[in-house]
Subunit: 209 residues, 2 copies
Amino acid sequence: MLPERTVERLSEYRRTLLRKLSEGVTHIHSHSLASMHGITAVQVRRDLMLIGFSSDNKKGYNVSELIDFISSILDSRNVIGVAVVGMGRLATAITSYFNGKRSKMRIVAAFDNDPEKTGRQIASIPVYSIEEFAEQCEKLSVRIALLTLPAKAIDGVRHIIDASPVEGVLNFTSKPFTPAEGSNMYVEDYDIITLLEKVAYFIKDDDIS
Amino acid sequence: MLPERTVERLSEYRRTLLRKLSEGVTHIHSHSLASMHGITAVQVRRDLMLIGFSSDNKKGYNVSELIDFISSILDSRNVIGVAVVGMGRLATAITSYFNGKRSKMRIVAAFDNDPEKTGRQIASIPVYSIEEFAEQCEKLSVRIALLTLPAKAIDGVRHIIDASPVEGVLNFTSKPFTPAEGSNMYVEDYDIITLLEKVAYFIKDDDIS
DNA sequence: CATCTTCTGTTAATTTATAAACAAAATTAA
DNA sequence: TTAATTTTGTTTATAAATTAACAGAAGATG
């Protein structure tokens, strides 16, 4: 089990490496990769050490080998289905952005309680009524739920998600998602207001130093 | 200067507290606040200790006092302007969601190079051409830029942002934002694919344990 | 060819963040 | 009123994450 931060960085490295590969770059040094991410080369090397990757020459890491190696760590064997709960603007934007970019994860369904939206496709994925959640998740191998509904609505879906095969939640709502007692669901609360307030705090204090 | 994580949590506490206040709750215990965020009560008390807040009774913290205290830590004296760079769907969703929620921060302008978008208002904020960036940021007291443009376009705006009064960047692009050498800009790269991959990794490994 | 530099992989040290432990004060219960 | 419980604030300990230090090897330089 890798440290959280390392997992995040591996994902970021991979995306940078994929871009570099498409630009025709075949080898990359730890320094180079580091500076592209605003971190130190030691950090990069340490992360790669943790996953057991090493290069056999001094021309830098082989980009395509490293991509494959990171993928062998991060990707699951089978495609992981992702379901969107609350098919508003944010969800539409995320779905369009995400689908097609990664092969081992795919947003396969959306759920909403607005009858205007259900029964048709939005951003190329089918929108179901929230009542069908557990059933469709089962059918579509959904293991991750992406919450993009109004904060007020979150209490109404908590038990629905708890009663489904979903194992991980990525919550964009301003209200934290707390799974049922004893559940070992992996939850990531992720609020844009908090991020903005964090940036504001640290630029504010920059003035003093 | 508070630890990063504490700043994040304070922002989250405040939002929970504001919601509780609107529900008529006047006092709240550390245990209660903690369980709403999936953390321990010790963590809550420690965070409050760090900012120097203490309660004078055993009925729990006074919600409205605590909100004011956190605000005195997190909020700047004057309103901080935020500019959106790349007025697509994600930006529209974020802007509509964000504006009106916090009084000390406000998305005041958007910039785009699509002539279909410039010169009018989207999500109630004016959209300018990217050429006007520095000028309008100066005029509107913009100190934070929110990057929501295509990854390919980021290299084209880097020098524009570096040459502006912007002090902090919140980057939703899949490509990391690296400010000019020697700049002390505060950057937060924040990619949805990374988050999903992180969740995927940790639910994947749940199976083994 | 010999030296000098550069880069990697790994260990050791430091810093940051979380959790445990506990004394003091206040409320509750007997 | 007195004892038991609860909650806080703070100190001490543990764990996680980052950074520094350095030996060894590949490649570059003279």
